[in-house]
C-alpha cells in the first residue's frame, strides 16, 4: 500500500516548512516578473535539499524518491515554479545517481551534495522540437575528450545551473535515435540565449532556447544508451515528481476553496454555504488524484529497488511495456485532473477565486496548472501509448 503520510512527518519537515514559507513570500513576484525563484533556491541550498536523493555516503540527505516527491508536493503549494526547478534538478540527480559509472560522474554527484550544485537539462532541440528520443546534434570525438554544439529549444533555469545534462547522437555518423547523455559542468559550456521565456504559467522557471557550445572529457558521457536512461529513470522520475507537483497545485486550490467556505459559513451561522456540495466533490477528486500519483510513486520505488538489486535481471518492471504505458498514463491523467480541479474550484468559489490577487485568487494556480498538459506534451504521450497498446497484452 502506498504511504499517505505527508512530508511533514519526516525528519526534514522543519526544513521543508522553512523553504515553503520563503517560496510563498516570493511566489507572486516570481510570477509577475517571470524571474527565477532564487530566494527559494538559496533556501533549498541552505537546507541541503538539493542533495535530497543523493545517499549519505556521497554527502547527500539520502531521501528516497517517494520522500523527495513529498518535498515537490509541499513546495508546489507555495510556488509551482520553485517546485518545478527543484523537481527538474532531482530528475538530473536521479540520472546521475542510477547510471553513473565513471569517476567524473561520481565526482559530480559528490560536488552536487557538498556544494549544493543545481543541475539542468537540455533534451529538446530546435530541429526535432519535443521529440526528445531523437537528436540532430552529435558528439564530436577528439581523443580523450569531445565537443558538442546544440540548438537547445528549452533549457530551464540555465542561468543558475552549475551543470547541464545534454542529449546528442553518439557520434557524427550515428542515426538520430542512437543517443547518449553527457553531463557537462558550467566551466565547459557556453550558452547564447536564442529565445526569451514569457509564458502564461511556470513563469519563474526562466526557461528558453539556447545555443550550447560545450566540451568535456569522455568520462562525462554516460555509458548507458540514452534509451535506457530515459526508459528506466528520466521519464518515470519526471512523471512521478511532476505528478506530486500537480497534487500540490490541486491541493492548494482545494485548500483555498475550503478556507473561503469556512469564511462564508462563519458569516452566516445556521446555513450551509451554497458552494459546499461543489467543494465536497473537489475534495473527493483531489483524493483520487493523490491516490493515483502516490500509488504510482510507491510502485516505481519498488521497481527501482528490484532493478538496483540486480541490474542484469531479466523481466525487470522498469524495462516492461506496461510500466512505460502506466507512467505516460500517470502524466496524462494527472495533468488533466489538476486543470479540472483548479477550474472547478474557481467556479465553486466564484469571484473571490476569479480575482487576479487576494487570499482566494486561483489565477496563478490555473495558469500554472495548464503547463501540466503542455510540458512533455500530452498529444505526444497519447501517441506513444496508442502505439504501445497495439502490441502490449497486459491489462
Amino acid at each position: 500500500m502506498p504511504q499517505h503520510a505527508p512530508a511533514t512527518d519526516s525528519a526534514h519537515a522543519k526544513a521543508v516548512s522553512t523553504v515553503r514559507a520563503i517560496a510563498a513570500q516570493h511566489a507572486d513576484a516570481v510570477d509577475l516578473e517571470a524571474r527565477l525563484p532564487h530566494e527559494t533556491i538559496d533556501a533549498l541550498r541552505d537546507s541541503r535539499l538539493l542533495g535530497a536523493l543523493i545517499p549519505q555516503s556521497l554527502g547527500g540527505l539520502g531521501l528516497s524518491l517517494t520522500e523527495t516527491c513529498r518535498v515537490v508536493e509541499e513546495l508546489a503549494r507555495s510556488c509551482a515554479s520553485a517546485s518545478m526547478v527543484f523537481a527538474m534538478h532531482q530528475i538530473q540527480v536521479a540520472c546521475l545517481l542510477w547510471h553513473q559509472r565513471t569517476p567524473e560522474m561520481e565526482a559530480l554527484l559528490r560536488r552536487t551534495a557538498d556544494e549544493q550544485l543545481l543541475l539542468a537539462s537540455a533534451t529538446t532541440e530546435k530541429v526535432v522540437s519535443g521529440a526528445v528520443r531523437t537528436s540532430a546534434c552529435a558528439i564530436e570525438p577528439a581523443g580523450a575528450s569531445f565537443s558538442l554544439q546544440k540548438e537547445a529549444s528549452i533549457i530551464s533555469y540555465a542561468r543558475l545551473a552549475d551543470a547541464i545534462l545534454i542529449t546528442a547522437r553518439r557520434g557524427p555518423e550515428a542515426p538520430p535515435t542512437d543517443q547518449v547523455l553527457a553531463c557537462i559542468t558550467a566551466d565547459r559550456y557556453r550558452l547564447d540565449r536564442r529565445q526569451v521565456w514569457d509564458t502564461i504559467g511556470f513563469r519563474g522557471t526562466e526557461s528558453g532556447g539556447f545555443l550550447v557550445q560545450a566540451d568535456g572529457p569522455n568520462g562525462a558521457i554516460f555509458p548507458d544508451p540514452f534509451a535506457d536512461i530515459s526508459r528506466r529513470t528520466m521519464l518515470p522520475v519526471s512523471h512521478v515528481l511532476w505528478g506530486h507537483l500537480w497534487v500540490g497545485l490541486a491541493a492548494e486550490a482545494v485548500s483555498r476553496a475550503r478556507a473561503l467556505l469556512r469564511k462564508q459559513a462563519r458569516s452566516a451561522p445556521g446555513s450551509v454555504p451554497a458552494a459546499a456540495p461543489a467543494v465536497v466533490d473537489l475534495v473527493n477528486r483531489l483524493q483520487e488524484l493523490r491516490s493515483l500519483v502516490y500509488h504510482a510513486a510507491s510502485d516505481y520505488q519498488s521497481a527501482i529497488e528490484s532493478w538496483q538489486a540486480d541490474p542484469a535481471a531479466a523481466g525487470l518492471v522498469v524495462d516492461s511495456l506496461p510500466f512505460s504505458i502506466r507512467m505516460n498514463g500517470l502524466k496524462l491523467a494527472g495533468s488533466k485532473a489538476v486543470v479540472e480541479i483548479v477550474t472547478d474550484a474557481i467556479e465553486a468559489c466564484g469571484m473571490p477565486a476569479y480575482q487576479a490577487s487576494g487570499p482566494y485568487s486561483l489565477g496563478r494556480l490555473l495558469r500554472d496548472a495548464h503547463g501540466a498538459r503542455v510540458m512533455i506534451n500530452n498529444h505526444r504521450l497519447t501517441g506513444a501509448n496508442a502505439a504501445w497498446l497495439l502490441v502490449s497484452k497486459d491489462d
Binding site: P175, T177, P225, S320, L321, V391
Partner: protein
C-alpha cells in the same frame, strides 16, 4: 533458421525505417545503433506477429528482443517450439 532470418530481414527493411541498407548488416548488428526507433519497433513487432502467426508475450516486448536480426530470430524460435 536461414528462412526465418530472411523473413525477419525483409520485415526490418519494410518496417524498421533504418537509415541503413539492411542487407549490409550482420545478423548480430545492433539495429538501434542503425536507427531503429521505438515507434518503428512497434510496427516491426506487429509485422512479426502477423508474418509468423505468433503472439509475442509481454515478457518479450522489451528492447533487447529487437536489438538484432539474431535476437528477433531467437524470440521467434522460442515461440514456434
Amino acid at each position: 533458421m536461414t528462412t526465418t532470418n530472411t523473413t525477419i530481414r525483409d520485415l526490418v527493411a519494410e518496417h524498421g525505417n533504418l537509415g541503413t541498407d539492411v542487407s549490409r548488416l550482420a545478423d548480430t548488428d545492433d539495429l538501434y545503433a542503425h536507427g531503429l526507433s521505438s515507434l518503428a519497433t512497434v510496427q516491426l513487432m506487429l509485422a512479426i506477429e502477423d508474418s509468423f502467426e505468433i503472439e509475442l508475450p509481454e515478457r518479450l516486448l522489451v528492447r533487447s528482443t529487437f536489438e538484432s536480426v539474431a535476437a528477433i530470430a531467437d524470440a521467434v524460435a522460442l515461440l514456434q517450439t
